[in-house]
Structures are given as C-alpha cells and as structure tokens.
Symmetry: C2
Subunit: 352 residues, 2 copies
C-alpha cells in the first residue's frame, strides 16, 4: 500500500540509507543523486513512517496539551497558538480536555499517554504541582499559570499580582474608589485567583482605600453566567453600590456588563469594568472591554521552548525555570473617563 524507504531506494537505484539522508537533509548528498531520489519520492508519494522513526529515535514528535475547557475562549485561543508554534518545531499537539477533573489530569500522566507524548503542557485545576510532578517523573512538563511550584516543574505565567495591581490602579486613576473584585476561586488548587486578589488589594491600599471583604466575590467558574450572577448579587445586596469592578476573566466581565445593562446600570458612566485575558469577544463587546492582555503568543513560545529544552537535553538536574510572560493593560471603552468631579482623578498612585 504505502511505500517505504526501500521502495524509493530500489526505484532510484541507491541504498535505503541514502534516501534517508535525502529525506532528513542531514548528511551530504551529491546534487545529482538528491535529484534522482527526490523524483522517486515524488513518484511513489513516499511519506516517512513516524512509528518507525519514533521507535528508532525514542521520541514521537507529539506533545500533549491539557486544558480544563475547550470551549473557553481564552484556552481555545491559547491552544490555537500553541498548535501553531508547535508546527514550527514539527511537533504535533494532542489536545486533551480535563474539565477540572482530578482523575482526568492524573490519567493523562499515568495512562498510556505518557508513552505517546514527548512532553506535556498542562493548565492544572484539580491537581497540585507536587502531585503532578511526582506522578510523572520521566515526562517533561510545563505548567501554565500555576502558582510558584518551586522546584517541581517548569512554569510559564504572567505576573498576576502586578497585572491585577495595574488593572485596579487604572480604575483608581479614573477616579473610581468603590472598586469590587469578582472572580475569586479559593476551591481551585492553582492559586491564580489568589494572586489576582492580592494585586487588587495591594493597589487599593497604596491608594489609601481599605479593601472591603464584601466586595470580593467568589465564583464557581469563570463563565459569563457567574459574572452576571455575582453582579446581580452585588446590586441587590442592599449595601453601597460599587462604581467599578475588576473581574478575573473577560468572560466574567461580559457577564457583569450584561447584568449591569439588564439592571439599568450604565457602563462605563456608572460602572467601570476591567477584565482579564483579552479574548476576541471583549474586543467587540458593547462597550468594548478594557482588559489585561497576556501576551498569549509569548506564553505559547515560552512553554514550547521549555519543553524543547527538557526533551532534547534530558538533564534531570537542570533546575526548573519559572518564566514570566509579558502582559499589558489594554484600555477600551468600558473604563472611559467619567464626566464627574475631576479633582480626585490623579490621587491614585501608579504601580511600580
């Protein structure tokens, strides 16, 4: 059915090894021979057998990408970029959806997956860094957005504390003082939301504003619906109403804006909103959404670079790197300057 090196070799009148050299391009081959071999390859439609190659090389050229949710815009976008960058390295990506299920995350490492993947990029929800690292001693792993797992595995993330600080400070500089935070997730093990909450409080304190626990809202997931629910809850609570919200994801922010609209609260006039992730939907929302934009392409690049280092020089003793991808605050309509008393706008102290 499909042809092998031997078939091509026979047709071109050379040895199989020479064909291999032409295909891999590594060794020197005379121009004339190369041409003849190439013709034979084209005529027979030869494609290297990856199984054989893997068997020989001990590598499969396949890496895994485990994300909690395929249908989350942030992860979908990131997955697309990782696939794209992987193609540049001639790697194939197997995408796996864990749905935050500890069992699914564990199975990825212990199951036969471990034999088919050269490495794994995982955004853990249910498992701690420790458990991940110990489960898969032999498999190179890169963690996405996991809280400092000192010494367990490589890690790529944005500086969540600073990013949250900048977002909050931006709101402060617009003259907002009653700033709520929506998106805490104390039940997850990856600690991302803790870091964002920390940055949020830091910015408030520096500006002389005392954080109010009742304005820090916990959510179950980061979806629109949770944002809408949290916002409704804030508005209906009967207490003082915030004039700004920092949400820990764009999806939450879109839910918040939707609910604000429902309840007749105008954004940004009465309520400024900042999101996190810079997803497509936010760019076209109404109003367009101010957000913390992690450099997703850079995240993808760094993660693959880490993986490549581990795979090609399996020096177990190299200490894990902890890489920080850049981010920037993208200011759009949802935090436009409000026309109120302008005297207080400059009081907020910018983040360092």
């Amino acid at each position: 059915m499909s042809s092998s090196l031997k078939d091509v070799a026979a047709r071109a009148g050379v040895s199989a090894r020479t064909v291999s050299n032409v295909v891999s391009g590594s060794a020197r081959v005379a121009a004339d021979t190369r041409r003849r071999v190439q013709e034979a390859i084209d005529e027979l439609g030869y494609r290297p057998n990856l199984a054989a190659r893997s068997l020989r090389a001990g590598r499969t050229g396949i890496i895994g990408l485990a994300i909690p949710e395929l249908h989350s815009p942030y992860f979908a976008e990131l997955a697309g970029l990782i696939v794209e960058e992987a193609r540049n390295r001639a790697w194939t990506v197997i995408i796996d959806q864990t749905l935050g299920d500890a069992e699914a995350e564990r199975r990825l490492l212990t199951g036969s997956g471990g034999r088919v993947m050269d490495g794994l990029i995982i955004s853990p929800w249910a498992l701690t860094a420790q458990e991940l690292a110990s489960t898969a001693r032999s498999l190179p792993i890169v963690l996405l957005g996991e809280r400092s797992p000192q010494g367990f595995a490589d890690r790529v993330a944005v500086d969540n504390v600073s990013a949250a600080d900048e977002a909050t400070t931006h709101l402060l500089m617009q003259g907002r003082r009653r700033i709520a935070a929506i998106g805490l997730q104390p039940h997850l093990h990856n600690g991302t939301s803790d870091l964002r909450a920390e940055g949020y409080r830091r910015a408030l304190r520096r500006a002389g504003v005392t954080p109010r626990p009742e304005w820090e809202r916990t959510v179950n997931t980061l979806h629109r619906k949770d944002g809408a629910l949290a916002m409704a809850d804030l508005l209906d609570s009967g207490g003082e109403i915030p004039d700004a919200v920092f949400t820990f994801s764009d999806e939450l922010a879109l839910g918040v804006m939707h609910m604000a609209h429902q309840k007749g609260v105008r954004v940004p006039e009465e309520l400024a909103v900042v999101g996190f992730d810079d997803i497509e939907d936010g760019r076209y929302g109404r109003p367009t959404l101010t957000t913390v934009s992690p450099d997703k392409r850079q995240i993808a690049r760094l993660a693959l670079q880490c993986l490549a280092d581990r795979i090609y020089s399996p020096d177990n003793e190299v200490s894990p790197s902890d890489l920080t991808a850049p981010h920037r605050l993208v200011i759009r309509a949802s935090t436009a300057q409000r026309p109120g008393p302008s005297g207080r706008q400059l009081e907020a102290v910018p983040a360092t």
Copy 2:
C-alpha cells in the same frame, strides 16, 4: 530509563513473548505465570511502547478530528463526546482546528498527519467531498454534516431538511406566519445551510405561506454577532417585521434574542425564536431557547463505528455509508404560545 518487554521477561524468568501475551491478554497463559509476570510489570512500571506496537501492527491507535472552530460551543461539545467514545475503543484523538481554511484542510490529508492517523473525522468547510476523498485515497475518512457526497466517503449527519421543516412547522403551529430564516451560507461548500433553507421553505409552502426572499438572511459565520447583525438589519429594514425567526444555529439565535432585547422587541411575545444545535448556553439563556437537538452522542458513536469498520477491514470496495443521526425538537420558552387570536393556530400542517 523506561523498561521494555525484555526487561520484564528477564525479571519474571520468562520469554518476552509470554510477557506480550500477558499484556495483550490474547493468548492463553498459565495463572501462575500470569501472576509472576504481572508482578514484574508492576515493579518495573512497564508501559508498552506504542511506537513499536504501531510499527508492527501498521496502526497507530490515533485518529484525527478536524473541526472548523474549537471555540464554537457546538463543535467543542461534539469534540468532547468523540474523545470520550474514542477512549472506549482505546483510541487517542488528535484535534485539529481548520478555521475553514482550505489549505489547512488539505494539509491534514497530505501532510505527515496522514501517516500518524489511522483515520479522520472531518467537518469540512472549505473543501468539497470530492476533493477530500481524492486527496486521501488511503486514509479512512468520515464526513460530518456534509451534503450527500454520494460515493466519496462515509458520512454522518442529521436530516437537515426534516429538522428545519419541523422547527418551522412548530412556529407555524404557534400561529406565527411571518417567519424569517437567518443563517444561509451559500459561500460554504458543505451545503448544510442549503438543506436547512430547503426544509424551512418546504414547511412554509405546505402551510400555504409563500416564502419571502427578503426574509432569508445570509450570514458570514454562525456566531452570535452575525445573528445580532442580521436581526438588527431585519428590524431596521423598514419593511414588515417578522413575528418569528428560525436560525440555523443556537449561537445565531442567542445573538438574535440579544438584539431583539436591545431593540425592545419581546421574546417570545412579539418574536418567537428557534435555534439549531442545542448548546449549553441556549439551555440557560433568557428566555431558554427552543432548538433542534441533534443527538450528538449518537453522531460521535456512528462516526467512530464507521471509522472502525474501515480501519479493521480495509475493504476498499465497501460502498460508503450515509448515516443519519436522530434529532428532536426541544421546546423551551423562546417559542411559548402567544396570547394572541387563537383561531389560526391549528392551520399549520405538521411535517410527516
């Protein structure tokens, strides 16, 4: 580093072949031997090398799934089910996102992917069935939702014409007469939207309602935004305003409902809406969305069954099957009976 059959064999004091028999469970092995071997396997943490197995068997145990968009809820949900069903067959799924790019679709078939995958499930946007089938003579392919590709490849889809007919008839039976259709996509090659439009017109004609071309709206993609735009356009066109809309996807429907709300049109009182796909968001929308619900699990099962048949009995001459997955109309709040004059409600003739 990792142990092989030979290592296990040495430890258990048997031949490599016997270990292989224990692992595969195929041949008869004495209970005592099996126990000893199993112990050795556990102690060494042996895992079969898939590359070697593939090389020997000529199969990889990996199938491809090519969908246009990972971030579309319908495809994400379907992908999840396919992965789940594939696990039952001990298959691994590689998910690839084509973004409706002809080049990406073609590369999947001609590139090295063809060597690593045992089969491919693809939902084509850019390529025609002909081109797909001819590009990949040797690779078993199952098409999802492609218009009758008589004799080119296996195909799994719902009966789009009937489904659209039922959805439209449902609206007619609620007394609606001014029914628009949103979601035509004449630029795509898969013909799905043509079939739905056909069912829509068929239902109208049977009820004695003449289809109006100006109420058949073309969209660029099936996203919320396109639905919202199309709806705004309908409302602002200055002509008569529809009292119902049949949209070709739930996402479009959600966009339509959003825009209706914006413009002060009440759903379902002034405008009934039916979607297609039965995605999660629609079940929790406001109001909850009446929709055509394709049996996604059945689609996944059928697609995998087709693939299995082709892979395990590569009898090229077996004619391609054209399977229809069941669907049902799920009636929710977006098409609730309106309190208007009730005399006309029964005029509509139900679909056969």
